[in-house]
């Protein structure tokens, strides 16, 4: 099952991307390395967040599966991990999952995934932006750390009609084609059949004589 991160190249690439994109800082503007809550020499909780679209095509009014993976690469448990994705506005309908979720505690080297399913209500180009994560490093820290997920980036939401035209079984079109191709097959067949039965009638009459 895909909540285990091992061996997934795509995830590894996204984690690397998330690492590059992550904005990490406390409410007072300091760097995570200077947090008071972490004991000396111990790195505080650091979360890397990847946001992936698990779609081959993004199509209007069809499911878009978004998977958020949160990795704690620090050496302290991340607490009160709050994942919030406000990037889906009124142009999307959330059909499964929550856009704002408390993931609780994430121990060091552990990862947690969250899944959301949305349906785009409009087509066209759309910029899928980052989700936001706030958390604390350890149980005693009051400082709220902020992190951002990787951004899937701009993608094209195809109109349903276009998708249907390209990928549907076109049963109606083929049925029309079958009806249209029937007369050129059926008329010669009937002509041949009538002449055949006439010839056979003559033949059988001759035989009887």
């Amino acid at each position: 099952m895909s909540w285990t991160a091992g061996g997934n190249c795509v995830t590894a690439v996204l984690v690397a991307l998330a690492m590059l994109m992550m904005v990490n800082g406390d409410s007072s503007g300091g760097t995570p390395g200077t947090l008071n809550s972490a004991p000396a020499g111990e790195e505080p909780a650091r979360l890397l967040i990847s946001k992936q679209l698990l779609n081959k095509y993004v199509v209007e009014n069809m499911d878009v599966v978004i998977k958020y993976s949160v990795f704690n690469v620090g050496s302290v448990t991340a607490t009160n991990v709050l994942l919030k994705d406000t990037s889906f506005g009124p142009d999307f309908k959330v059909v499964g999952g929550q856009t704002e979720v408390n993931l609780g505690r994430i121990p060091p080297t552990a990862n947690v995934t969250h899944t959301l399913v949305v349906k785009p209500l409009k087509f066209g180009y759309y910029n899928f932006t980052a989700a936001q994560v706030s958390y604390a490093s350890g149980d005693e820290s009051n400082e709220v750390l902020q992190g951002f997920s990787s951004e899937p980036g701009e993608g094209y939401i195809a109109p349903f009609r276009e998708f249907d035209k390209r990928f549907s079984p076109h049963l109606l079109d083929w049925a029309a084609f079958a009806i249209m191709s029937l007369p050129p097959l059926f008329i010669p067949f009937m002509l041949w059949h009538s002449s055949k039965s006439k010839y056979e009638a003559v033949l059988s009459a001759k035989k009887l004589k």
Partner: protein, 166 residues
């Protein structure tokens, strides 16, 4: 020391409270059923948990499914268990989930480490996530079907012609 004892007592009391009579309500399940545009199937179930008549809010929960432990997300007492599965590996049907708290998950983990059976671990609640299966596109594309039908018509025509000429 005193503070530690108080924390321990509160934790014990809360876990005892949770371990008693818990019920799942308002369960909503969503699984992706049209996989023609997807690479993975999403399994999502949301629920509320009531223990001894009180709605559980702000408690860290875990879901155990076929030996795997999933962290349960929460939004104001609305819990969510979700995972994704590759299209080729996705399984349909009932997926039983056992909801446990911190204490329960440590028992499950301990049992998994020692190789003991986890069936004896009593969950707070049990859920079923049903996935009826997903449509991944037509089994035989219509253009192939049309081609096969064309070949059949040609075959019938050629055989009947050769029969006549024989």
């Amino acid at each position: 020391m005193k503070g530690f004892l108080v924390v321990f007592a509160v934790l014990t009391a809360s876990s005892v409270a949770l371990a008693s009579n818990c019920q799942v309500s308002n369960q909503r399940t969503y699984t992706t059923q049209d996989a023609s545009v997807l690479t993975s199937i999403a399994y999502i179930t949301e629920f509320e948990l009531t223990c001894d008549g009180k709605k559980v809010v702000g408690t860290q929960l875990y879901a155990e499914s076929q030996g795997s432990i999933l962290q349960v997300g929460e939004n104001n007492g609305n819990y969510q268990v979700s995972w994704v599965e590759d299209l080729a590996l996705a399984t349909k049907g009932d997926h039983p989930l056992r909801i446990v708290d911190d204490e329960g998950v440590s028992v499950v983990r301990k049992a998994q480490k020692t190789g003991a059976s986890i069936d004896g671990v009593k969950p707070l609640a049990s859920l079923i996530l049903n996935h009826p299966g997903a449509y991944t596109g037509p089994w035989l594309s219509s253009e192939h079907l049309a081609a096969i039908m064309g070949v059949v018509v040609v075959y019938v025509a050629v055989t009947s012609k050769s029969k006549l000429l024989a």
